[in-house]
């Protein structure tokens, strides 16, 4: 144990947890010192989520002890954990869009502002403002949460966690579950600064797939694999390559982004925009996407790149300029037009817009191209099953059956189904909006393979990536946007990739 504190803020000893058919955790022991940030990494399925759920009182361990500030503790349920000063900042944000910021911060804890059952909102808002000040966010607590951008909501989420400081034991344990996965770099920096500033008042467990961030923020790192802790090491002594190796049991080779498979793209132009504008979102965007090209768009929030992609898929309408498909002007009034024109869209909100979770794997795969499995105007279920089976095999999708609901599959397998849907629809242009978000390393690599193979087949790919590294690694060309305008274009041929700093320079 590298901390010198007499009683660690939190100590897990020999935690075990099984589900029917699965041993989710075995003999997990983790120590979190007072004022420490501990990183927790591992592939999907390594047991991180189960561990977090145990810590937040949602699950009960089958065996083992939880010690809070040196005392054995049983966390009966989420409320009990909260009362003892354990807060969770969720990967999927837990704020309700129809409530105000202040109401969200104190949701479930209004009793302290109630007198005879009547909640006094002025007192609650004043208190909420104090919490927001702790995380240095300048938001009026009476703002409707749905009106805030994502990054601000993440900060509100942190402010919500800070409320426990007053309610509970004083020193908090805050579980950060993938807090950065939806944030842009600038916002991540702000979040990290806040976390560091709060170390005096709280200890943090930081779960993330982004190894560099884990190293940047954490004091120590635990690596989990197959339900157990396989390594514990000080962040200062580790590097991403080493962590990667520990997580997957193999080296992260230089071929991570499959650069060697990058082939020059074709001459033929698939998609072109001329002077495309959309109100305040972006202006005068000229873009050209060739056969086999992977075109990356880099930019921070507010750069307009998401809006641009949504325009190209018909969700939003441009206010000026034109879109050309195969050289001919095209009007894309809605997603249906886009699909008809051979455009596919892999959304950031996979569980919302990417998949119909309560529909089967096969039905999701054929959703955009049902015509292909229809004969005489009727769906040919046998043909559909064959087709789906082929995709399952080809993309190594792990699912109990093609009739299983997508709901129960892992993120990586879900994303592969989304990609299969568009390849099945013979889309010639694929828009990838954060395609690797929330995926583990292995699943990411499979997505990269797919991007390469789509490129090789002559598809045009438009990519908004999670990280600059990913953008640079995958793309033939990169377009940088800032404040709604294209600021710079880079060629990124294999072996002559631009550096991250080159891009960042034009982003902010």
């Amino acid at each position: 144990m590298s901390t010198a504190a007499p009683a660690p803020a939190l100590q897990l000893v020999g935690i075990e947890k099984s589900f029917p058919g699965v041993k989710a955790l075995q003999d997990v022991s983790i120590t979190l010192g007072v004022g420490e940030v501990v990183g927790l990494i591992g592939e999907n399925g390594a047991g991180k989520s189960t561990l977090m759920r145990i810590l937040s009182g949602v699950y009960q361990p089958d065996a083992g002890n939880i010690r809070l500030h040196g005392e054995d503790t049983v966390l009966r349920n989420a409320q009990d954990a909260a009362r003892r000063g354990i807060a969770m900042v969720f990967q999927e944000q837990s704020l309700l869009p129809n409530l105000t910021v202040g109401q969200n911060i104190y949701l479930g804890a209004e009793a302290q502002f109630s007198r005879m059952g009547i909640v006094q909102w002025s007192r609650l808002y004043a208190a909420a403002a104090r919490q927001l000040a702790k995380v240095q966010v300048d938001v009026d607590p009476s703002t409707i949460t749905g009106d805030l951008d994502f990054a601000t909501r993440q900060m509100v989420e942190l402010a919500k966690a800070m409320t426990l400081e007053e309610a509970g034991e004083g020193h908090l344990v805050i579980l950060l579950d993938e807090p950065t996965s939806v944030l842009e770099q600038a916002d991540i920096d702000i979040l990290f600064a806040r976390v560091r500033a709060l170390k005096a008042r709280a200890s943090f467990v930081f779960v993330s797939h982004r190894l560099d961030e884990v190293l940047a923020l954490s004091d120590r790192v635990y690596v989990m694999k197959d339900g157990g802790v396989v390594a514990e090491l000080p962040a200062a002594e580790a590097d991403t390559r080493q962590l990667h190796q520990l997580m997957v049991g193999r080296d992260r080779h230089s071929e991570y982004y499959r650069e060697a498979q990058q082939r020059p793209f074709g001459e033929k132009v698939l998609l072109e925009t001329r002077g495309l504008c959309a109100g305040a979102h972006y202006r005068d965007v000229d873009l050209t996407l060739h056969v086999g090209e992977v075109l990356g768009i880099a930019g921070v929030i507010g750069s307009g790149r998401e809006s641009l992609c949504r325009t190209l898929f018909g969700f939003e309408q441009p206010t000026a300029g034109e879109i050309l498909l195969d050289g001919a002007p095209a009007r894309i009034a809605g997603p249906a037009d886009a699909v008809a024109a051979g455009i596919g869209y892999v959304p950031r909100e996979r569980r919302n817009e990417g998949l119909v979770l309560f529909l089967s794997v096969a039905a999701n795969m054929t959703l955009a191209s049902l015509r292909r499995v229809m004969r005489h105007g009727m769906i040919d279920h046998a043909a559909e099953a064959r087709l789906a089976g082929e995709w399952v095999e080809r993309l190594h999708i792990r699912t109990p059956s093609i009739r299983a609901l997508c709901l129960n599959l892992s993120g990586g397998n879900q994303q592969k189904i989304v990609l299969a849907k568009w390849m099945n629809a013979h889309a010639r242009i694929i828009i990838l909006d954060h395609p690797t978000r929330g995926l583990d390393v292995g699943a990411k690599e499979e997505v990269y393979d797919l991007v390469r193979s789509m490129s090789a087949q002559g598809l045009g790919v438009l990519l908004i990536a999670d990280t600059l590294e990913e953008t640079i690694g995958l793309c033939h060309s990169i377009m940088v946007m800032r404040d709604g305008r294209v600021t710079r274009r880079f060629d990124a041929p294999s072996g002559a990739k631009p550096r991250q700093v080159d891009l960042v320079e034009h982003m902010v």
Binding site: A336, F358, A363, L367, L370
Partner: protein, 312 residues
């Protein structure tokens, strides 16, 4: 897998258990004539319920079906003299038109289907009252000659049963073998993703409303045949039983999960509960209470909670 199959079959199991239960006390309940009679009495309810199933699958609701069915019965009664058999397709068309109106109000004006169809139901009822001058129109001797295809029997099977079976087959084909069926399931289960897959959500919602209207039109025509008349209030009490049939069959009121055969089973459950009470001589003063309780119990048994995100 086995448990899933069992869950799928729960509506049928529930129906069989109910029939057996009644028959155990009153064996005459299961003689073929009684069962066929009940089946034919279920036809109207099933046809109405099947139509509204399509709308419920999409996550909407149709509260206009009873008025549309009444309007269709009036249309049949008025048109059978000049048009003969053609009056029946016209009635179905009238229903589809009313459905189109609901669809436009719901999709184009973005009004919740609950309100849009409630309002269109009011309009349909008003039109029916105007057309019929607020009276029941009885079919005369000659006109009744045209309703044999509804009220007659072939090979001992009442035609209502045959019509219901044809409708069931059509509904099943639409649901399982057409793009509309698949898309409506997708829209009901996850509208944003369906939209993002290029499905014309509005179009399919409108189609669903029209199908519901057309089915209501057919139900109105069947009613007109069975009762040999058309009346602006003929089907007024059928709305809630029809929706209850859909839900009792295990279709989720929130959309995405369900099927036409479930509605048939649901409609049969309702008929069995009602007739069963008569057979078992349940005190008339508490029949309504027993009926309400039985509906709730039936849903508790038939609904497949594993496929419904949140029970609202």
């Amino acid at each position: 897998m086995n448990r899933d199959t069992l869950r799928q079959l729960m509506p049928i199991v529930t129906l069989v258990v109910l029939v057996v239960l009644v028959a155990a006390f009153q064996p005459s309940f299961v003689n073929p004539a009684t069962l066929l009679g009940m089946a034919s009495d279920t036809a109207t309810l099933f046809v109405l319920g099947m139509g509204v199933t399509f709308v419920i699958m999409l996550g909407g609701i149709d509260l206009s079906i009873q008025s549309v069915a009444s309007l269709a019965s009036v249309a049949v009664a008025l048109l059978i003299t000049p048009l003969g058999y053609l009056a029946f397709p016209v009635a179905v068309l009238v229903g589809a038109l009313a459905g189109l109106l609901s669809g436009i109000a719901h999709v184009q004006l973005k009004i919740p289907s609950f309100i849009a169809t409630l309002a269109v139901g009011g309009v349909a009822a008003g039109v029916a009252l105007l057309l019929a001058d607020a009276q029941a129109i009885t079919l005369g001797e000659v006109e009744r000659g045209y309703v044999g295809w509804i009220t007659g029997t072939s090979l001992g099977i009442p035609h209502e049963v045959l019509i219901a079976l044809v409708v069931l087959a059509l509904g099943t084909v639409v649901q399982h073998y057409t793009a509309f069926g698949r898309y409506s399931q997708a829209i009901g289960a996850g509208e944003p993703a369906a939209h993002a897959a290029g499905i014309r959500v509005g179009l399919h919602k409108t189609i669903a409303c029209m199908l519901s209207g057309a089915a209501a039109g057919l139900a109105g025509a069947i009613l007109a045949g069975r009762l040999a008349s058309g009346s602006p209030t003929l089907a007024d009490q059928l709305l809630l039983p029809a929706i209850a049939a859909v839900i009792v069959g295990g279709t989720a009121i929130t959309g995405g999960v369900g099927s036409v055969w479930r509605t048939l089973v649901g409609a049969l459950i309702i008929t069995v509960v009602r007739s069963g009470m008569t057979f078992l001589n349940v005190d008339i003063f508490i029949q309504q209470s027993v009926f309400g309780a039985m509906l709730v119990i039936a849903v508790a048994l038939t609904i497949d909670r594993s496929k419904i995100p949140i029970v609202k």
